[in-house]
Amino acid sequence: MVESKQQWKAWLYLAPAIVLLMVFTVWPIVNTVRMSLLEGYSGLKAAGGATFQFGFGNFEKVIQYRRFVQCLRNTVLLCVWTVPISTFLALLIAVALNSIKPLQKALQTIFFLPYVTNSIAIGMVFAAMFNIVGSFYGTQNEIIVTAGIINNVIEFFGGKPVNWINYGSSYMANMTVMIVYIVWNALPFKILILLGGLQSINKQYYEAAKVDSAPRSRVFWRITVPLLSPMLAYVIITGFIGGFKEYTSIVGIFGEKMGPPDDAGRLNTMVGFIYDSLSANNQGRASAAALILFGIILVVTLINLQVSKKRVHY
């Protein structure tokens, strides 16, 4: 409304952000693409005056790299397990929370608690819970006492203790622990969003359903889920994006070795791979991997959007 001829004033307000964005956002995008296309690019070697051939060599190498395939597999597996489980559990909890009055606020607060935690710190708590105390740096059979609370519980119910994360543990056991931890971590955000969505659904729909004496399960599938579909889509998309960037929760439980003591790197993820390449001063490979990660996230998000376009009901 007010006309100002002082355009430069606007740029003055924008200046700090623009300068910082140029240096730490725009330039990195350009540079990452550049480095990914220079075969075997390394900052150190470049400083030493080496030149690099232009081509897709980095991408080819990354894809052929056995460790990368392992990282990709871990990441995809974690996503495929944790997103549906956490979404479904969060939906159940949110619906349950929405249907009660007493204790609702208190329980809501409890369910949000895991959000305000440090995923490294609480990862260490999970490690303690799944641990078997003893010394295992020597041979495999050196276990002295079993003491992790999870195994205690399993034994209490007459089951056999499982070597979850220690020396000689199986990949399945490791993944189970990671899935449990990541789901635990992912619940609060999803519950918050879904509960917010539920609370904004007009009560009249439920009253109408009551008048029509529709059974609870029908009300849930025919009214609640469709009306909640935008929030569900949002939660699933952000869940996948977060899942593909999984890294610190694994560091929390397994440490920077990214795996049990006898198989370091077994649980490494895409992000872990990028940082490893960076630490090895192989920026070309790191850039290629980062672009591949970006590509995967983009494709998964687009697929999700496409699906939700058909499924989201309004």
Partner: protein, 297 residues
């Protein structure tokens, strides 16, 4: 059959079904509460386990049948944790980085959001769309180049490197701009009539009116500093500048095997405590900020 007896029977039938319905309803509610309380216990269990383990003696912790409440409360673990991990230094470092980066980030966010919400300049829409587009890109993609950039700048192992690269958050700018746009245009015109400059209007009217959003941003930013791990490990992992999460991880490299868990849990509890305090007092702001973000920290 008389009409009366029919109606009596009918009534009895109704009474039966409503009693059954009532019982069914009670059962459903029992089920809902049972489920919620069970889930709540599962969610709370790690915190509980962290706290009771942190005050146990190592011997008690290692008992093959664990105690659910410590026999003796050993606060010495906390003292040991504090010194082992040099938590004091880590707290100070994290606080410095958190406070400085929050203040600077708030100023930049306010200025940028104001320009996008209130001022007119060429290419505004395009620039804003470009900014939003960068939110799609995973942060790792920036990290690779930023690592070389800060090395070139000679910022490795400084506070600067922990603060400057993350001062601009497109998401916070977006959040605040939306908030600014909701402030009626008339207030701006009124302020002009009242003799205010753009600058004064921004700080006297827009900022106070957006306080809830700014508080949300502050908390999320502080939490970000508290929880950041990857970047600090990469660029400032020396004693003098190390942040809390890295310090914790570095001090207790072993998570499995024969570890002094009580002390480790005490350290974890100490690191978690500030977050809990913030949560207890500012829950409203955190939850409203988070529900609009979807990004942790």
């Amino acid at each position: 059959m008389t009409q009366k007896s029919m109606s009596v029977m009918h009534d009895r039938d109704l009474g039966k079904t409503s009693a059954r319905q009532k019982a069914g309803k009670a059962l459903v509610y029992f089920g809902i509460y049972a489920f919620l309380i069970l889930m709540a216990l599962i969610v709370l269990f790690p915190f509980y386990w962290m706290l009771i383990s942190s005050v146990k003696s190592l011997e008690e912790y290692r008992l093959s049948t664990p105690t659910l409440w410590p026999r003796m409360i050993l606060l010495g673990n906390y003292a040991e944790a504090f010194t082992t991990a040099a938590l004091g230094r880590l707290f100070v470092n994290t606080l410095i980085v958190g406070v400085v980066s929050t203040i600077l980030s708030l100023v930049i966010t306010v200025l940028t959001a104001f320009a996008f919400a209130r001022l007119e300049f060429k290419g505004k829409e395009l620039l804003f769309a470009a900014l939003l587009a960068t939110m799609m890109i995973p942060g790792e993609l920036f990290t690779i180049t930023n690592y070389s950039t800060v090395t070139t700048f000679g910022w490795i192992n400084t506070y600067t490197v922990l603060i400057v690269p993350f001062l601009v958050s497109v998401f916070y700018i977006y959040l605040l701009r939306q908030n600014f746009l909701q402030i009626p245009n008339e207030l701006y015109l009124a302020a002009k009539v009242d003799g205010t400059s753009d600058w004064k209007y921004l700080w006297k009217v827009m900022v106070p009116l957006s306080l809830p959003t700014l508080i949300s941003i502050t908390i999320l930013k502080m939490m970000g500093a508290w929880n950041s791990y990857i970047w600090p490990r990469l660029v400032a992992n020396d004693e003098a500048h190390r942040l809390i999460t890295n310090g914790l991880r570095n001090a207790f490299t072993d998570t499995t095997g024969d570890v002094n868990y009580p002390v480790q849990m005490a350290a974890v509890a100490l690191v978690s405590l500030p977050l809990f305090l913030v949560f207890v007092f500012l829950r409203k702001y955190i939850m409203s900020g988070v529900s609009r973000s979807g990004i942790k920290g």
